[in-house]
């Protein structure tokens, strides 16, 4: 790929003339080799990226300069009135800010400012047309974009974007290969970017023509559960007989082992040490058992004895918490029964 990249650098200078409408240019120059076309498209793709940054800068600068230089013609760009006349000739006025931005960009590029500018403006016009169409009818929804792409004739701008999108797939080493989405995202981005100056309202999701991809799930009324009374003895007997008849002797050792596992004779592998032992108690319930000592006198030999008991229990990993609590309660009961005797002492 290094070779391609070096060629890109060589060709980028030449292909910077071809603006985002790289495909359009390739259409015109049919004598170009497919390789050159490819490289043009790559170059145009890169140019798009650079455009973004420049447009960002321009937007910031334009917002500052707008108040100052609105009436005056832009100083360095002598080609603006030409651009304006071009637009007026075509009959559709573009946003003056866009025009300014286009002219600024064209001036920044090294080659053939007028040509680039005119091409830029043509591109902008096309974008404006598409956005207006969308504004009138539906929202700029991804679904609609896809549907429109399938229905509409492929405009060269979209094609170019799609091709660039494909190449970007290969170069960007992206895992996703969903082509239409990718290209639509790309074209969306470029379109959106040029239309960022013209603010459009984003409407809700449900507005827009239906695509009829999914059929509405028919809500069938659930069949009423057949009222089954508790199974009779005959039913149970029948079931047992059926099971007894269908239980064929095991054909091989594996089936025998399966049978044993079902009966419970054989353990399940890999062996789980905690089968049948579901102790959901936390560790602190096992160790800190002093709260169970409330029924005992706070001083005296009994308390001493119980503290030892608790110490032993806290170290015991084999009993569950309920068992330990039972243990302590048994002692409590025992000592309560012997209270009279204890008081004599």
């Amino acid at each position: 790929t290094s070779r391609v990249l070096s060629k890109d650098k060589d060709k980028s200078a030449a292909s910077k003339d071809s603006t985002p409408e790289g495909a359009a240019k390739s259409q015109k120059g049919g004598a170009e080799t497919p390789k050159q076309q490819l490289l043009d498209i790559i170059g145009s793709m890169r140019v798009e990226v650079s455009y973004r940054k420049k447009l960002q800068q321009l937007k910031a600068s334009d917002n500052k300069k707008q108040a100052m230089n609105k009436l005056e013609g832009p100083q360095s760009e002598g080609s603006v009135p030409q651009g304006v006349t071009d637009d007026t000739q075509r009959g559709k006025p573009l946003n003056p800010e866009l025009v300014k931005a286009a002219s600024a960009v064209a001036s920044s590029l090294p080659h053939n400012k007028k040509q680039t500018e005119s091409e830029l403006l043509a591109q902008l016009r096309r974008h404006e047309e598409t956005t207006d169409k969308q504004k009138k009818g539906e929202t700029i929804n991804l679904r609609n974009v896809i549907s429109e792409m399938t229905v509409k004739r492929h405009s060269p701008a979209q094609r170019g974007a799609r091709l660039s999108g494909r190449i970007s797939l290969q170069l960007d080493e992206d895992g996703q290969r969903i082509r239409p989405e990718r290209s639509s995202a790309h074209s969306m981005d470029s379109r959106r970017y040029f239309c960022c100056f013209s603010f459009f309202v984003y409407r809700s999701l449900k507005v827009g023509k239906r695509l009829n991809i999914f059929t509405k799930a028919s809500t069938e009324p659930e069949h009423a559960l057949k009222t089954v009374s508790s199974p009779t003895i005959w039913d149970l007997e029948f079931a047992k007989e059926v099971a007894a008849v269908t239980a064929q002797p095991p054909r091989n050792g594996f089936e025998e082992m399966i049978q044993w596992t079902k009966e419970g004779i054989l353990w399940e592998f890999p062996i789980d040490n905690e089968v049948g032992m579901e102790d959901d108690a936390e560790f602190h319930e096992h160790i800190f058992l002093e709260k169970h000592l409330e029924g005992f006198p706070k001083e005296g030999p009994i308390r001493h004895f119980m503290e030892l008991v608790i110490c032993g229990l806290s170290k015991n990993p084999y009993l569950s918490v309920t068992q330990k609590v039972e243990h302590i309660e048994w002692f409590q009961k025992y000592f309560e029964e012997k209270k009279e005797l204890l008081q004599e002492i």
Binding site: W234, F238, E241, V242, A244, V245, A247, Q248, P249, P301, I302, H304, F305, L308, V309, H327, W330, F331, Y334, K338, L341, L342, I345
Partner: protein, 128 residues
Amino acid sequence: MAAATLCWALRVARQVLPLPCPRQVRSYYVDWRMLRDVKRRKMAYEHADERLRINAIRKNSILPKELQELSDKEIAALPRDSCPVRIRNRCVMTSRPRGVKRRWRLSRIVFRHFADHAQMSGVQRAMW
């Protein structure tokens, strides 16, 4: 009607194809001594907790001696078969009280019998 015919069919099938005989099921104990040993084991299991707790009071230097004497009397009052000392590890097959290897729960004679017939997994005649 259909169920009755099906049952009859099942019964016939059972006579024709005998049910697969499961593994040997021991329905009798070898002798009465083995049965008594089984009873003693069950009782010991039931009273194990109590015995443990009362013994904990008895074998104690902290609690007063009167209490310990009382608990002595209590533990003696428990049924005799509940103490684990009375359990004898008998051979499972022949109920022989002596010469029983704990790992296999078999007497030496039965063990030798099975080992020679290669029915003991991992057991081999020693030779060195």
